[in-house]
C-alpha cells in the first residue's frame, strides 16, 4: 500500500494557483524528495499533506485515510517539520519535548521524551531555555521533536535549511536512519547533494506542476546529467 497517494491536487490562494493538479505516490518506508525553485509549490504541498491547508480539488490519501475527511486520524500518524519552525521560548528543550509528547499516548511519554533528547543530542543544554539556543541547536531540537514520536510519515520542509555542514550532515543521517526503521519520509530541499544522498525517489516541481519524477540515478541517466542539479536545471529551465 502506498503511504501517500496524491491525485490531481489543486490548491489556490484566492485567484492564485499555487499547486496545479499534481499527482504522485510515496511507498511505505521510502524517502521521497520534492524539489523545485522558490515559489514552485513545495511548501504548499507539504502544508496540505500536513492537514494545515484545505484542498480545492483532487484527492489525497495518507496511510489509507482521506485527507479531506479524516484529518484528525492523519494527525495521529504524521509529524511535520516546517522550514522556519520555532519552539516556545520560555520552555527548556526538555520541557518543550515533554509538552509535545503529552499529546500522545500517556504511557509512552517518558520513552518519547527520551528518544527526543537522544535525537536532539544537545547534552546538558537540553535543560536550558530554548531562547538561548543557536539556530543549529534549535533545528536539532525540532528534528528531535518531529521524529521522537515514531511517526508513520515524517514531512520535513527543508530539514537542513540554514545549518552548517556538520549539523546538516548529522540531521541527514538521522533522517536516513529513521526511514530505515520504517518511517516514510517526504521532504523538500534546495540542496541537490542532500537530495541525491537521501532520497529514494524525487519529484521536480515547477510553477505548481510536477515536471519530472523518478529515482535520482534514473533521472541522471535520462538527462545524461552528472548530478541532480543538472537534471533540475534542465527540467526546470530548458
Amino acid at each position: 500500500m502506498a503511504a501517500v497517494e496524491v491525485k490531481n491536487l489543486v490548491k489556490k490562494y484566492g485567484s492564485m494557483d499555487a499547486v496545479k493538479g499534481i499527482s504522485f505516490s510515496i511507498n511505505e518506508g521510502e524517502i521521497f524528495g520534492l524539489i523545485g525553485p522558490n515559489g514552485a509549490g513545495k511548501t504548499t504541498t507539504l502544508r496540505v499533506l500536513s492537514t494545515l491547508l484545505s484542498i480545492n480539488s483532487g484527492t489525497v490519501t495518507i496511510l489509507g485515510h482521506d485527507l479531506s475527511k479524516q484529518s484528525g486520524e492523519i494527525r495521529k500518524l504524521i509529524s511535520y517539520l516546517p522550514e522556519d519552525a520555532g519552539a516556545y521560548k520560555n520552555l527548556t528543550g526538555r520541557a518543550y519535548l515533554q509538552f509535545i509528547a503529552n499529546f500522545f499516548d500517556q504511557k509512552e511519554v517518558p520513552t518519547i521524551v527520551k528518544k527526543g533528547i537522544e535525537i536532539a543530542d544537545l547534552g546538558a543544554r537540553i535543560d536550558d531555555r530554548v531562547d538561548t539556543y543557536s539556530k543549529g541547536m534549535m533545528r536539532r531540537l525540532l528534528v528531535g521533536r518531529a521524529l521522537m514520536t515514531n511517526p508513520k510519515l515524517a514531512i520535513l520542509d527543508e530539514p537542513t535549511s540554514g545549518l552548517d555542514v556538520i549539523n546538516a550532515q548529522e540531521i541527514r543521517k538521522l533522517v536516513k536512519s529513521t526511514a530505515q526503521k520504517g518511517t516514510t519520509v517526504l521532504l523538500s530541499s534546495h540542496n541537490m547533494l542532500e537530495v541525491e544522498y537521501l532520497c529514494d525517489r524525487i519529484a521536480l516541481i515547477s510553477d505548481g506542476k510536477i515536471v519530472e519524477e523518478g529515482k535520482p540515478k534514473a533521472l541522471m541517466e535520462k538527462y545524461k546529467a552528472r548530478n541532480i542539479e543538472e537534471v533540475f536545471i534542465r527540467t526546470v529551465h530548458e
Binding site: G39, L52, L53, R75, I78, Y80, D84, G86, Y88
Partner: protein, 428 residues
C-alpha cells in the same frame, strides 16, 4: 534621499497599515456616537427643570419662592392644596418632571418667628447616573436661589431677626425621593446616586481590568504562536482545534481571575473608605444584595469573561506578530471602557433607545449593570444579559474554531475584502 528621510519613509510605510488605523477609526466612530447621545441627554438635562408647585402660603415669602419657581422652571402642575400632592406627582411622572415642591401654609410665619421655613421637595428620580441627576442638580441650585432671595427680603425688610446665620439660611429642605417604586425619605437624588455609585463601581472597574489583562494575554498568545513559528506545529499535533481554542481561553481566564482577585482585594479597601465616609447604609433602605444575587453577579462575570476572551481569541487570529497584537488589544480595551463610562454617566433605563441597544450589545456591560439592577430586584435585565452573553460567547467560540479549521489562520486569506488588510499573507 538622506538617511533620515529614507528611514522615516520606511517606518511610515510600515506603520501606515489598516491594522493600525481600522481599530482607531472604529473606536472614534463609537465615541462620536456616544458623544452625540450623551450630548442629547445633557441638552435635555440643562433645559429648565420641569416641576410641579403646590403653594399653600400666600404671604410675601411664599410668593417670592413661588415666583422664582415659575420664572426659572417649567411648571407643569400648579395647586394651592397639599391634598393634591398625589395628583401632582402623577402629572409630573407623565410629563417627565423632576420634582414636586410644596410650600406649606406656615412658610412665611415660621421664618418670621425665626424658625426655618420648610420647602418640601418630592423628587422623581429616573436614573442613578451622573447625567440622570443633572436636572436635580440644577433644581437644587434653584432652591438655593430661593433661599438667597428670601435672605435679601429679610435684610431689606430690616426685620427684628438678629440671628445672622438664620437670615442667611432661612429655609430648610425636607426631601423625599421616589426611585424605582421605592421611597427614600430624607435623601436627594444626588445622595442616592453617590451612594449607588460607590457601591457598584467596583465591579465595572474589576471587569474592565480583567478584560484588559486577560484579553491581552489571549491576543498576545496567538500572536506569539505565529511570531515564534509554533502555530503550524501545534496545528499538526493530534489535538482537536476546540481543545486548542478552549485551552487558551481557560488559561487566560484563570490568570485573569487571579489578577482580578488581587485587584479586588486592593479595591475593596479603597472603596470601603468611601462607604464609611458616606455614612449611609443602603440596607436601611431595603437595598441589599443577597447571597443569591452574588451568585448571579458571579455567573454574569464568568460568562462575560469567557465571551470577552473568545472575542480576544478571534482578534488574536488576525494578529501577525506581537506588535499587531498590541494594536488589536486596543479595541477590546475600549469595548471594556465604554460600558464603564456609560453606566457611570447614565442609568440603563434612562438611555436613549439607540444607546440602550448599543450598551446591551456590548457583553462587558452586563456584569457592570448587574449589581445596581440586583439592588432593585431587576432580574430581567440580569438574566437577559446572561443569556445574551452566553449566546454571544457560543457564537464567538464557534467562529474561532471555524477559523482554526480553515486556511485563514495560517495564510490570512478571507472572502471579506475589508479584512484582507488586517491579515497580510505569509510567504509560502
Amino acid at each position: 534621499m538622506s538617511g533620515l528621510g529614507n528611514i522615516t519613509r520606511k517606518e511610515i510605510r510600515e506603520l501606515l497599515t489598516p491594522a493600525t488605523f481600522v481599530p482607531i477609526i472604529l473606536v472614534a466612530l463609537i465615541f462620536a456616537t456616544m458623544g452625540n447621545s450623551i450630548q442629547g441627554i445633557q441638552e435635555q438635562s440643562q433645559a429648565p427643570p420641569t416641576i410641579g408647585v403646590i403653594n399653600e402660603d400666600n404671604s410675601t415669602l411664599g410668593a417670592i419662592a413661588s415666583t422664582i419657581l415659575h420664572e426659572r422652571a417649567k411648571v407643569v402642575y400648579n395647586s394651592t392644596s397639599r391634598s393634591d400632592k398625589q395628583v401632582g406627582l402623577e402629572t409630573l411622572k407623565e410629563k417627565n418632571g423632576v420634582a414636586l415642591i410644596i410650600i406649606p401654609q406656615n412658610f412665611t410665619e415660621r421664618i418670621r418667628h425665626e424658625q426655618p421655613g420648610n420647602i418640601e421637595v418630592y423628587w422623581i428620580m429616573k436614573g442613578a447616573g451622573l447625567m440622570d441627576t443633572l436636572s436635580s442638580s440644577i433644581f437644587e441650585s434653584l432652591i438655593a436661589y430661593i433661599n438667597t432671595n428670601i435672605s435679601k427680603e429679610l435684610i431689606q425688610e430690616n426685620t427684628s431677626i438678629h440671628n445672622a446665620s438664620f437670615v442667611l439660611s432661612p429655609t430648610k429642605r425636607l426631601e423625599t425621593t421616589y426611585f424605582k417604586n421605592r421611597e427614600f425619605q430624607g435623601l436627594s437624588p444626588n445622595t442616592i446616586s453617590g451612594m449607588l455609585s460607590s457601591q457598584s463601581l467596583l465591579i465595572p472597574i474589576v471587569m474592565m481590568m480583567i478584560i484588559i489583562m486577560a484579553g491581552s494575554i489571549v491576543i498576545t498568545s496567538m500572536a506569539l504562536e505565529k511570531e515564534n513559528k509554533t502555530l503550524e506545529t501545534l496545528l499538526t499535533l493530534p489535538v482537536k482545534r476546540t481543545s486548542i481554542v478552549t485551552g487558551k481561553i481557560v488559561a487566560a481566564a484563570v490568570i485573569g481571575l487571579l489578577l482580578a482577585i488581587i485587584y479586588m482585594i486592593g479595591m475593596q479597601f479603597y472603596f470601603s473608605g468611601f462607604q464609611f465616609s458616606a455614612g449611609l447604609n443602603l440596607a436601611s433602605y431595603g437595598l441589599v444584595i443577597t447571597s443569591m444575587d452574588f451568585i448571579w453577579i458571579g455567573v454574569s462575570l464568568f460568562i462575560t469573561l469567557i465571551a470577552g476572551l473568545s472575542l480576544c481569541m478571534l482578534m488574536g487570529t488576525f494578529a501577525k506578530n506581537y506588535k499587531s497584537a498590541q494594536t488589536l488589544t486596543f479595541p477590546i480595551t475600549m469595548l471594556a471602557m465604554i460600558p464603564m463610562f456609560i453606566t457611570m454617566f447614565a442609568d440603563f433605563d434612562t438611555l436613549p433607545l439607540a444607546l440602550k441597544i448599543f450598551t446591551f450589545a456590548i457583553p462587558f456591560s452586563h456584569p457592570m449593570m448587574a449589581p445596581r439592577a440586583l439592588l432593585f430586584h431587576d432580574y430581567t435585565l440580569v438574566i437577559g444579559g446572561i443569556v445574551y452573553v452566553a449566546i454571544f460567547a457560543i457564537v464567538t467560540i464557534s467562529i474561532v474554531v471555524w477559523v482554526f479549521k480553515t486556511d485563514r489562520l495560517l495564510v490570512g486569506t478571507t472572502k471579506f475584502k475589508w479584512l484582507k488588510g488586517l491579515t497580510r499573507r505569509r510567504r509560502f
